[in-house]
Assembly symmetry: C2
C-alpha cells in the first residue's frame, strides 16, 4: 500500500506532539520538510531518510512527498503547527486535483492534526478564544490585498476575536498597520491585543497590549498577533486575558 | 504552591492527547469534569480523586476546581476538545475576575491546549482550513441571536470557511437552518459542507454534502458543521476536500 502522512508537528515543544503524530513518524521511511522544523523533532526522526527543502519550495516539497509515496516509501510530509491551517496539507491536495498523475492516485493520505499557534498563544494568556473567532493571514503573496482587507472589515463587523497569521515579513510591513487602523474603526482603542513570538520554545515571548498601542516594530515573521472582541478583558493586576461566554449575565 | 491545570482532553481518542496533558494529569490530586469526558481518559485518571458534575453545572465545576486548588490540592479541570475554545477555561477566569476570593489569588493557573473538533474534522476530509476561517457557536443560550446572526452575515461577507459549534440541541433546531439560508445569500449553492459526528471515536461519522443540500436532520449535539469558502473544492471521484491558498494561480 502506498502511504503518505501529512504530519503536524505542533508549535515546537515536543511535549505538544500527540502519540498519533509519533506513531505516524515511526511508520515513515522518508520525511520531507523544512530543515528547521525537522530539527525540532530531534531523536524522533533519527532513523528516517530526511529531505530538507528550503523556504519558498513548498510546491516542490509537496510534489516530492507524493512522488516518494508513489515509489512505495512510507512518507511523512511535516509542517509546524497544524499542517491543515495555513500550511502544507492543502498543496498536496491541490497537486492531486490538478496534476493528478496516475501513480499518485492510489496513495492513501492521512492527515495528523496538531496544536496551532493560535491555541498555544491562547493557552499562555488565559482564554481569549472562548467565543467566536477568526483567523486572517496578512500575506498578500498569494491572496490579493483587497480580499484580505474585505476579511478584516468582516472581522470587525462581526466582532470576532481575530488572529493574524503571517502578520509581517522582512519585505512586507505595512499590512499589519493597515489592519490595526481598520479594526480601530470597529473596536475600542483599549481592546486587548496579545502578541506571541516563538511560542512553546525556549525563546518564547508573550506581550499583552491594546489595539491603540500595538507597535508593528514588536512583530516579526515568527509572531502571532491576536486581537480581542469587544468583551475580551485583562484581569486587573494579572496577565490573564479572557473572552467571556456570557455566563455572568445569565446568573 | 497552589496549582490548577486547565486540561484539554482532545476529541476523544487518547492518541490525540499530547504528553503535556498527560504530564499535567500525573500531577493532579483531584480532577473535575463531566463524567463522559472523565471516562474517556480511562487508566490515565485511575489514581486521581474524581469530581463528576453533570451538564449544566459548568459554573459549579469551575468554582469547585478553584476551591480544591485553594485548599492545596493539585487540581485538573478537564474539558473535551481544546479547553480554551468554547469550553471551561473562560469560566475560571471569569470567576477570578468577578468573585476574586482572597484564597484564589495565589493559585497558579496553567492552560494545556488540545486538538479541537474543527481540526479533527479538517484532518478527516483533507485541508478545508488552509485559508482564513472562523468559528461561530449557534447556541443562543448565552449569546443573543442577533449577535450570532450578525456574525453569520460577517462570515458570508468575508467569505471565511465557517465552522458551526453547537449547531443544534434537543430543544434548539431552527438556528442551523437560518444560518444556512443566510450563507446561501453569499456563497454558491454547491459550496462544500462537511459534517462530522463523534469525531475520533469508534462511532465517528463523516458526511460531505453541499450548502444547498445540508439537511438539518442529519445534525445533532455531537456534530460539527463546516462550510467551505468560495474556493473550497471536493476533488473529483474522491472524498477529499480542500481550500486552496492560491499557489496554482502563482505558478
Amino acid at each position: 500500500m502506498k502511504k503518505l502522512y501529512l504530519i503536524s508537528t505542533g508549535p515546537g515543544d515536543l511535549a505538544c506532539l500527540a502519540p498519533l503524530a509519533r506513531l505516524a513518524l515511526q511508520q515513515c521511511d522518508d520525511i520531507v520538510g523544512y530543515g528547521l522544523y525537522i530539527d525540532l523533532l530531534n531523536e524522533l526522526v533519527n532513523n528516517i531518510q530526511q529531505h530538507d527543502l528550503p523556504l519558498g519550495q513548498e510546491i516542490e516539497r509537496a510534489r516530492l512527498a507524493l512522488d516518494l509515496a508513489a515509489k512505495g516509501k512510507v512518507t511523512g510530509l511535516i509542517s509546524s503547527g497544524d499542517i491543515g491551517i495555513y500550511a502544507m496539507a492543502t498543496l498536496v491536495f491541490e497537486l492531486l486535483d490538478y496534476e493528478n498523475k496516475p501513480e499518485w492516485q492510489d496513495i492513501e493520505i492521512e492527515v495528523i492534526p496538531g496544536i496551532s499557534a493560535l491555541q498555544m498563544l491562547a493557552s499562555r494568556v488565559g482564554a481569549p478564544l472562548a467565543h467566536d473567532f477568526c483567523t486572517i493571514s496578512l500575506s498578500d503573496l498569494l491572496t490579493p490585498w483587497e480580499t484580505i482587507e474585505k476579511r478584516i472589515h468582516a472581522a470587525g463587523q462581526g466582532d470576532f476575536v481575530v488572529s493574524f497569521y503571517n502578520p509581517v515579513s522582512r519585505k512586507r510591513r505595512w499590512q499589519l498597520e493597515k489592519a490595526k487602523q481598520i479594526l480601530l474603526d470597529y473596536k475600542p482603542k483599549d481592546t486587548p491585543v496579545m502578541i506571541g513570538r516563538n511560542l512553546s520554545r525556549k525563546t518564547e515571548k508573550i506581550h499583552i497590549t491594546t489595539l491603540e498601542n500595538l507597535d508593528i516594530e514588536q512583530v516579526d515573521m515568527l509572531t502571532l498577533v491576536m486581537v480581542g472582541n469587544q468583551e475580551t478583558r485583562v484581569i486587573k493586576d494579572t496577565q490573564y486575558v479572557y473572552t467571556p461566554r456570557g455566563y455572568r449575565g445569565k446568573q
